[in-house]
């Protein structure tokens, strides 16, 4: 959610109602002293990072980018390469996506998918909101932990809370999160029940009675629920429901659909916010081209492909544990894990160094007109042209092609349910995303790096007592997808039957189904003392 923000020097007290303009801008000039990304990262840091790569290579030998592209093309078009999968980073432009689709056609594959996979959960939905409206809303309803997944929006939500010094935020989640901390009320529904809770709120707003609802099943009390309903009702015409997908929901597609229904019934705005800037635009182009998105993840996971092309995203970090095929072409900007493994690597540019169009979060088309400063490297679009063997024309109707989402029903990928009686493990995010942090926040700050050492699973006190565990003990957590041995940390606020594990810890991430899911949902696990 980093599209189109503007720089302002307005003091916060006056900026409180300025919405998106109160957010620090992405700046592109490496000579300016204030090149701050809206997400809190440093684009300047990324532009001039010591690990930025500028040379193309095949294996461990350096060649020109054109030669590597030619070799890659020849390798993929050879008879031995029958099944090719393509991954596109959510920061590619619409033009680059269309070029990638043309390349996929030439290679005879429909296995094309975007990364990060989490964004898939909201891609089929159409937003109807504005950032300014969030900051001025009477009530904002946040479903999921928006402050963790999308920190930029925190400022807008805080602005709304500050107006008139009222609290104006309702949070709905399955575990207490960073966002819920600031919300009144915070509704914590049992795992898998969030769509039901949202529909219950819709039914009350439509004239139903709280007394008729199975409140114990929904995990909320009548007081909090009626408070939330009143807050949403009072916001008719001036409220929003904001959904950020994440690892807290069994079926985020169902959650997003229920949130959209509530928005329509309550006459408030609806915003489904992705992690990567252009994920929704890319998804719509892929869906229109009838790409097998879910099949792509599955094929990569199972190692059933002969070649993998990843444009500006590193699947070895975003989808850890995948099997690397004999041909692995990668474009990127930094020396990530994939750089060492790739058979063919070509350096490319960041989104903020590109020209082109992206689909903004407000459903608007944003034109990028940034030129990479002094770089001798090309963006992914030109690289795709080189691999294709000629300049691929771009449709003039791109904007129309992404104007409407493609309906996918309950979602392209089935989610596994949580068996009754098991303990439910949630992923616990931290400031380092995707593996060791190199994928999205590659910084060598010791205090951030230290978080990689997070090795503790958080358990509710009741569960720890039941298992005879104290802080510092080690437990073995076993799930369908893998197992991990972690330290015990007691978290009194956690609900019975749930544990939190550090999702991005290399040891713990094996518990989650990275390959199958576009959605890193909670998983059922068993625990015993190690």
């Amino acid at each position: 959610m980093q599209d189109s923000f503007y720089l302002t020097e307005t003091p916060r007290s006056e900026a409180a109602v300025f919405g998106r303009k109160s957010i620090p801008a992405i700046e592109f000039d490496p000579d300016v002293s204030r090149g701050l990304c809206a997400r809190g990262n440093y684009c300047q840091e990324l532009i001039s990072h010591k690990d930025r790569v500028f040379r193309a290579k095949i294996g461990t030998s350096f060649f020109s980018a054109n030669k590597v592209a030619r070799e890659l093309s020849e390798a993929m078009l050879s008879g031995s390469c029958k099944r090719v999968a393509i991954l596109l980073d959510g920061s590619l432009t619409l033009e680059e996506t269309e070029k990638a689709l043309a390349l996929a056609d030439k290679l005879g594959t429909k296995l094309v998918a975007p990364l990060p996979a989490e964004d898939m959960a909201i891609a089929p939905f159409k937003n109807k909101f504005s950032f300014d409206a969030i900051s001025k809303a009477t009530t904002n309803v946040v479903v999921g932990d928006a402050f963790t997944l999308c920190p930029t929006i925190a400022r807008l939500l805080h602005d709304a809370r500050s107006l008139g010094r009222r609290n104006t935020m309702v949070a709905i989640d399955t575990v207490p999160g960073r966002t819920g901390w600031f919300a009144h009320p915070e509704l914590i529904a049992p795992v898998g029940k969030v769509p039901m809770l949202l529909d219950a709120i819709s039914s009350i707003i439509s004239g139903g009675s709280i007394d008729e609802l199975p409140l114990s099943e929904l995990g909320v009390n009548a007081g909090d629920l009626s408070w939330a309903v009143d807050a949403i009702k009072s916001a008719s015409g001036n409220g929003n429901i904001i959904f950020t997908p994440g690892w807290h929901f069994v079926d985020p597609f169902a959650v997003a659909a229920a949130a959209q229904r509530l928005a329509e019934i309550a006459n408030i705005g609806f915003a489904a916010i992705p992690i990567a800037t252009n994920s929704r635009g890319i998804y719509r182009l892929l869906a229109a081209a009838k790409c097998d998105i879910a099949g792509t993840y599955a094929a990569i996971r199972s190692g059933e492909i002969d070649a993998l092309l990843a444009f500006d995203c590193d699947p070895t970090e975003a989808l850890p544990g995948i099997e690397i095929p004999k041909i692995f072409g990668l474009t990127g900007q930094l020396h990530t894990t994939g750089y060492d493994i790739a058979t063919h690597f070509i350096p490319s540019t960041y989104l903020f160094e590109k020209k082109g169009r992206i689909l903004g979060t407000e459903e608007d088309i944003i034109k990028l007109d940034q030129n990479s400063v002094g770089l001798e490297i090309s963006g992914a679009g030109a690289i795709i042209d080189s691999i294709f063997g000629g300049v691929i024309p771009v449709s003039p109707d791109l904007e129309l092609m992404v104007a409407e989402p493609i309906e996918v029903g309950s979602g392209p990928v089935a989610n596994s349910g949580i068996p009754k009686g098991d303990i439910i493990a949630f992923g616990h995010g931290n400031v380092l995303h995707h593996g060791d942090g190199r994928y999205t926040r590659r910084m060598d700050f010791p205090f951030l790096r230290a978080q990689l050492d997070l090795t503790a699973a958080e358990l509710p006190k009741s569960l720890a007592e039941k298992l005879g565990l104290v802080e510092g003990d080690k437990i073995k957590i076993t799930g369908y997808h893998g197992e991990a041995v972690l330290d015990v940390k007691i978290a009194e606020w956690l609900s019975d039957g749930t544990i939190l594990v550090p999702m991005h810890n290399p040891v713990a991430r094996g518990l989650f189904d990275w390959g199958k899911s576009p959605v890193l949902g909670p998983v059922a696990v068993k625990i015993k003392k190690a």
Partner: protein
């Protein structure tokens, strides 16, 4: 010689009344401010993190006190309050004894060493000279940090902070 004239002429001194103010009702603990601090100070991290277990983590900025206890406690005069009001640490003089960290009533000085000297916020005075705000303030994604005269803040700029927070504190 008054301590302040070590680094600037008396005629050039502009008293800096503004301080970094944190609105706890907005801080989401994302650490962007600490990243900005580290980046601005050539990877030195001068901004300590306060942790209120198990509630929250937020930056603990130096208040640049009127009568800084850290400076009084320093046996080598390595911490000096300048005529401009900014309390600075002089790397060449600091022996890393941590007396200042113990003396600071706000926990703004980390007890861990930074290249054998203490780490201390200098209010990004070079950025101030350029008319910019401290890096932590400009990078704050939630609008929790502001750079204001504390006197103005008392006039009512903050949103009520924790007095309106709910009971049952929980957050990671």
């Amino acid at each position: 010689m008054p301590p302040g004239s070590l680094f600037m002429e008396a005629t050039q001194v502009k008293i800096e009344k503004r301080r970094v103010i944190i609105d706890l009702d907005r801080c989401i603990g994302c650490s962007s401010c600490r990243v900005a601090c580290s980046r601005t100070h050539q990877m030195d991290l001068n901004l300590n993190q306060a942790i209120a277990e198990p509630v929250a983590a937020f930056p603990a900025h130096c208040r640049h006190c009127e009568n800084p206890a850290c400076a009084a406690a320093c046996p080598k005069d390595a911490i000096v309050k300048g005529d401009d009001g900014i309390v600075r640490r002089f790397t060449f003089k600091c022996i890393g004894c941590l007396s200042c960290a113990v003396a600071c009533p706000f926990g703004a000085i980390d007890i861990s060493h930074l290249r054998n000297v203490i780490a201390k916020c200098d209010l990004c005075y070079q950025r101030l000279d350029e008319g910019l705000e401290p890096a932590c303030v400009t990078t704050c994604v939630s609008g929790a940090l502001s750079f204001e005269d504390p006197g103005d803040v008392i006039e009512g700029n903050l949103s009520g902070a924790r007095s309106k927070a709910k009971p049952g504190l929980r957050r990671w």
